[in-house]
């Protein structure tokens, strides 16, 4: 089981997919297909705080586009 302290000591990378959904991934591990690093790295808490700053519209991109087309 991963405790909060253990998780915080690992360096994480902020990653994003084509739907502009953000998540975190252990830095140094190959990023899964369909995701790319944003360039931000740090402790788990720092990465999550960064996500909170940049992920302002949480709707998947395809849905945002469909809504824009309909409007």
């Amino acid at each position: 089981m991963t405790t909060a302290e253990e998780a915080d000591s690992t360096t994480c990378a902020v990653v994003v997919n084509d739907e502009e959904q953000y998540s975190i991934w252990p830095a140094g591990n190959p990023v899964p297909a369909g995701w790319r690093p944003t360039g931000f790295q740090g402790g788990k808490a720092e990465c999550l705080a960064h996500v909170a700053e940049i992920w302002l519209d949480m709707r998947p991109l395809s849905l945002r586009r469909a809504s824009a087309d309909a409007a």
Binding site: I24, P32, A33, R59
Partner: protein, 601 residues
């Protein structure tokens, strides 16, 4: 690469991309079939569709559009089903508010969801008074707007999108505020179209009993309506076990869902009345092998299904279908449901080998879009799926093990989350509510196991001076749902700590304190045979010694499931049937004893 539903979901549901489109297809196929029933009341597919369409057009005029969240606060009824369909048809997502939950909770959820319209019933209006705009002028479901009849009965026909939210389901949040899980249409379709854990068709009738705010309702409501079956709605209120079994019997129910606690009580009670049920789905918590086996033995031909899954993966993730007695020590959670992939990972996020235990991660079409307006918490729990490009895996926090035969077993939680009467509870949310009181300087909430009543929450707190327990309980009940209000409150001089300086929760779980709580009233001994027996009966269930004649059932920590159990004990001991409302109208030992005495005559 996109995360829109892969080829699987649309193929399984024809070309329908959304819940209401699939429903509309059903309407075209069997317009005259019964969609809803409640006693003698029958609503056909075409009629339900027309009613939902009229309301959907009204909602559109009230500003509901794709992307809107619409609150529904109503008692179980056919109107609620009309309302949910109407919200989806108007492009919105429904946010169910349970009428049993406190007003302050409603305010919190309305603000958090940003709902722009509220749908409710006339008798609930008083409890919803003074809400801010735009929900301050609710739409009444049971006193429909006279202009509704003039609205078109035709489908609004907005372009459907499988990724659009269908509902927001609020769950307990460990940081002190509830969080809304955003569930898209494709996730609902993945649960109910050609499920591998259930067979369902036009000949079936499914019981609607779960609160809409509880995600078991997703299965109860949409499985029948998207498969041409009938939804049998249980009358409003809190039926006793016998009433529930009677409704299932009278409505010809063939499929029903029960939370684990209720399933166990049903098996020990009027199970024989469920002889018409072909598939009994139970879950929300650990099922007992004994009860599953008893159900299988007593109801020949029945299939008992253990349904497991977090709300974030849309009601079910794994199911175990049983027709033969279970021979293992625990009831497995089975195999992934259709449209679901699971992974069991170790602490470093690597797949475990063989039958090693690990944390369950789940992916596929059932994964929610995240937590509404909570990017941090979403990114923490919804992580990249290494096996499906661009897709998400939800990290459940549940520890499981895959047996050699491929069946998965549930082992426990990786964190403090507990299940109380089938509801998921983060003790941290209750601790935050306790610490919000100025008198309380430290608090910890744990679940303690009890042989008869199952699990109950016990709050331990440190305070400068003693607090009246009923006052504390009332305070929490103003903001928390009933199942999150602890059954017992224990004041400590200091919290026990582990060697690392953290609260020793294992120690607290063992600390069973049977003292009568500080009720702010004097103890008076119960008088007479019935009152004395009742005080002992309550004490056994609540684990409290020395309950007094004037002590209040709810202030002591009693709840409706406990009342059901006491009703059964009273029936066994004195051969009388106490109505469920007796506990509300006569909440003290002396008052309830009087009810029993009168019934005995």
């Amino acid at each position: 690469m996109t995360t829109t539903a892969d080829a699987g979901a649309p193929a399984r549901s024809g070309n329908a991309q959304t819940v209401h489109e699939l429903f509309e297809r059903r309407v075209a196929l069997t317009p005259d079939a019964t969609a809803l029933s409640r006693g003698a009341e029958r609503i056909g597919y075409a009629e339900l569709n027309a009613r939902a369409n009229r309301l959907a057009h009204l909602l559109r005029e009230r500003g509901v559009a794709p992307g809107s969240n619409v609150a529904v606060c109503a008692e179980r009824s056919p109107e609620v089903i009309v309302a949910l369909l109407a919200v989806l048809k108007a492009g919105g997502a429904y946010v169910a508010l349970d009428p049993k939950q406190p007003y302050e909770r409603h305010r919190t959820l309305l603000a958090d969801s940003g709902a722009n319209v509220l749908l409710t019933q006339e008798h609930l209006l008083a409890g919803l008074d003074g809400l801010p705009e735009p929900v301050g002028h609710p739409v009444l479901l049971d006193r429909p707007d006279p202009s509704l009849a003039d609205r078109p009965a035709t489908d609004p026909g907005l372009p459907g999108d499988p990724e659009r939210p269908a509902y927001i389901a609020y769950t307990s949040g460990s940081t002190g505020t509830p969080k809304g899980v955003v569930v898209p249409h494709r996730a609902v379709l993945r649960l109910v179209t050609e499920p591998n854990f259930l067979t369902i068709g036009p000949e079936d009738a499914v019981l609607q009993f779960a609160p809409v705010a509880f995600d078991a309702s997703t299965l109860e409501i949409w499985a029948p309506l998207l498969n041409g079956a009938r939804l049998a709605v249980v009358p409003p209120g809190e039926p006793g076990l016998d009433q529930l079994a009677e409704t299932a019997e009278n409505e010809g129910v063939t499929i029903m869902w029960l939370t684990a606690g209720l399933f166990h009580q049903m098996v020990d009670g009027p199970l024989h009345r469920l002889s018409g049920v072909r598939q009994l789905v139970a879950g929300g918590d650990v099922l007992s092998v004994t009860h599953v086996n008893k159900a299988l033995a007593m109801l020949p031909g029945i299939r008992v299904v253990n349904g497991y899954g977090p709300t974030e993966n849309t009601t079910f993730t794994c199911c175990h279908v049983m027709t033969e007695p279970v021979e293992s020590d625990t009831v497995p959670i089975g195999v992934p449901v259709t449209g679901t992939r699971i992974q069991i990972l170790d602490e470093q996020g690597r797949p475990v080998t063989g039958e090693e235990p690990g944390e369950l991660y789940t992916g596929g079409d059932g994964v929610a879009l995240g937590y509404l307006g909570r990017p941090e918490q979403t990114a923490e729990r919804f992580v990249p799926d290494p096996t499906a490009p661009g897709r998400l895996l939800y990290r459940t926090g549940d520890l499981v093990r895959r047996r050699a035969d491929g069946v998965v077993e549930f082992l426990g939680r990786a964190d403090h989350q507990v299940k109380i009467r089938g509801f998921r509870v983060e003790p941290g949310e209750i601790e935050a509510a306790l610490l919000a009181r100025p008198e309380i300087t430290d608090a910890a909430v744990v679940a303690q196991e009890h042989t008869r009543t199952g699990r109950r929450l016990v709050a331990f707190y440190v305070a400068d001076h003693g607090l009246s327990v009923p006052e504390l309980r009332r305070g929490l009940a103003r903001t928390l749902p009933p199942y999150m209000v602890p059954a017992a409150f224990v004041r400590l001089m200091a919290m026990p700590l582990t060697l690392n300086g953290k609260v020793d929760r294992a120690e607290l779980r063992k600390d069973v304190n049977r003292d009568r709580p500080d009720l702010g009233s004097d103890y008076r001994a119960p008088e007479g045979e019935v009152a004395e027996a009742l005080a002992l009966m309550w004490g056994d269930l609540m684990e409290i010694d020395g309950i007094g004649a004037d002590d209040d059932f709810f202030e002591l920590g009693g709840h409706s499931l406990m009342a059901t159990q006491i009703t059964a004990d009273i029936a066994t001991l004195w051969g009388v049937e106490v109505p469920p409302r007796a506990f509300y109208e006569n909440p003290t030992v002396a008052e309830l004893a009087q009810v029993v005495e009168e019934l005995k005559r």
